[in-house]
Symmetry: C2
Subunit: 117 residues, 2 copies
């Protein structure tokens, strides 16, 4: 199950149909890794790259960073920091939200955005 590799290879090839600059080599150059390495990543020959490299990749391919990190089996370090500052509170909240349907969570996000406190 090399979700990550398949995903970015598909995405890159899609973009490439419109824009030749999305060759493996050119993407690799822009995100500053060796072409051979990106090749191995796309084919699932190696584990997904570091957070930093994943984020560059997300930007280059126009993908959601959190989604791409999730596919890489990671959670953004800025989120982790937020949790670590109030571990009990956030751990509790997240575990409770585990079973909540999307719309319930969305409603909460909306409420908080509207500054309900």
């Amino acid at each position: 199950m090399t979700q990550f590799g398949n995903h970015i290879r598909t995405r890159r090839e899609d973009l490439r149909k419109q824009d030749r600059r999305f060759s493996l080599r050119q993407v690799a150059h822009r995100i500053e890794v060796e072409p051979a390495y990106l090749s191995k990543i796309e084919r699932g020959d190696v584990a997904p790259p570091s957070e930093a490299t994943t984020l560059k990749l997300a930007r280059d391919l126009g993908e959601d960073p959190d989604v791409l990190l999730a596919l890489a089996g990671k959670v953004s370090s800025d989120l982790q920091e937020i949790i670590r500052k109030r571990p009990r509170l956030f751990a509790d909240m997240i575990r409770k939200m585990k079973e909540a349907p999307d719309h319930a969570i969305l409603r909460i996000v909306r409420e908080v955005r509207d500054g309900e406190w």
Copy 2:
């Protein structure tokens, strides 16, 4: 700033006043690490231990696992998994909650617990 080490040394020594079984060596034995290693952890001579070892330590010392993991600079892998399953939703929510005061978050936890969806 070796928060983790200081914290568990203090905690262990506190417990020890009531119970001789909280010597460094005996705790180390129960959580299945070498005494020398636990010693170095407590003095901040090495980085905090793995998640698994931190959890054993939390149990032995009667501490909140999420808090101890936070002091170790980590976030519980079960929380990470929850986030990774719905990355956009949870990333959004957590970032919005960053500025929210504790009582606002507590209210939300309560609402969700009461099954408001």
